[in-house]
Symmetry: C2
Subunit: 149 residues, 2 copies
DNA sequence: ATTGCGACTGAGAACTATTCTCAATAAGCT
DNA sequence: AGCTTATTGAGAATAGTTCTCAGTCGCAAT
C-alpha cells in the first residue's frame, strides 16, 4: 500500500464515519507512517510540533473509531498509537520491559493459521465472538539487553 | 497447586525479595484466588472492603515485583491483576471490547509449541531477548454479544 | 514477655495521562 | 461570497494511580 493509497483509504474510512480528512488528521497519519512503529502522543507532538496535543488525542480517537488507527494500552504510562491492521497488515509486537518501546514483528503464515484455529476453538467453547487477536513478545530490546541489566 | 501451596509459594517469593507476607497481602492473594480471573482494583476492594485502596495498589506492586502477581494493562480505564503464571500456569485471555472483562483461556500444547518456535525465530532476528509472550483474543463476551449489538 | 527497629499500613494529598470545554476558525456546500 | 457545521486549540477538569508520613505491626534479640 503506497502512501497515497493509504491516504485514500483513511479518507474513505473517515468519510464513511461522517468525518472530514483535515490537515491535522493528514499530518497525524503522515507522522505515524514516517515513524513506522507504535508511538506515544509525546513522540508524535515532538516530531510534529504544529499538532496540538489535545487535538492529537481527539483526532487519534476519531481515526481509531473509523478504523484507521489502533491504540495499544501499554504496561508503562503511555498508550501507543499505530496505523490499523487493515492499512498496515496483520502483525505483532516486540515490547521492551525496560524502555517501553514497541517494534513490529511478523510471523509465518503457518504459525498464524495454527493460532487462528486454536483461538477459534477456544472462542467457540467460551461463547466468545472474536474480532482479532494480539500476540506480543515481552522482553528486552537490542538496545536494552546489550549494555548491562 | 492447592491454596496452601500457593500461599507457600507466595511466601517464598516475598521472602526472597526481603518482604513480609502480611495479613493484607495474604488477603489480596486469597481474593485473586477466589475471584479466579483478572480483576480491577475496584473489584478487589469491593470484595474485600477491609483492604485500603492505597495499600492494595502498593501491595499488588510488591507482589508483582516478587513474581506472584501479574498486572495487565487494559484497553479500557482500569488495569487488571491476576496471579502470575508461575502460580496459575501459562494461559491466555479473552478480552471483551464492550464491558472490559477478561476471562482466562488455555490453548493446546501443540499450538503453544508452534507459537513458541515462531516467536523464538522472530526474536532472534530482531536481537530481542524474550521473557514471555501474551496471546489474547479481543471480541465480545457471551454476556455482551447476546442481548444486542 | 519486653523491647527495639525497620517494614508496613491507611487516609488523603499529589501527580499526570487523558478527556472535556467552548470560543474562534476552517471546511465544504450552494 | 456567504452560510452552516465540523474542527481546532489552550486550558480546565477528570480520574486512575502513586506518593507522603505519622501511626502500627512483625519479627528477632535480649
Ligand atoms: Mn497473528
Ligand atoms: Mn501461549
Ligand atoms: Zn528497550
Ligand atoms: Zn463483555
Amino acid at each position: 500500500m503506497s502512501t497515497s493509497e493509504i491516504h485514500e483509504e483513511v479518507a474513505r474510512r473517515l468519510d464513511q464515519a461522517g468525518q472530514r480528512y483535515t490537515r491535522g488528521r493528514r499530518r497525524l497519519i503522515d507522522t505515524l507512517l514516517s515513524l513506522g512503529r507504535p508511538v506515544t502522543i509525546r513522540e508524535i507532538v515532538e516530531n510534529e510540533p504544529e499538532l496540538a496535543q489535545s487535538s492529537a488525542y481527539r483526532n487519534l480517537d476519531v481515526l481509531q473509531s473509523s478504523g484507521a488507527v489502533r491504540r495499544l494500552p501499554s504496561p508503562g504510562d503511555f498508550d501507543h498509537f499505530e496505523l490499523s491492521e487493515p492499512i498496515l497488515g496483520h502483525h505483532h509486537h516486540l515490547i521492551c520491559l525496560q524502555c517501553g518501546s514497541i517494534a513490529d514483528m511478523h510471523l509465518p503464515d503457518e504459525v498464524e493459521e495454527v493460532v487462528d484455529q486454536g483461538l477459534a476453538a477456544a472462542a467457540h467453547d467460551a461463547g466468545f465472538f472474536a474480532v482479532q487477536h494480539s500476540l506480543d513478545l515481552h522482553g528486552y530490546c537490542a538496545g536494552c539487553s546489550a549494555p548491562a541489566n
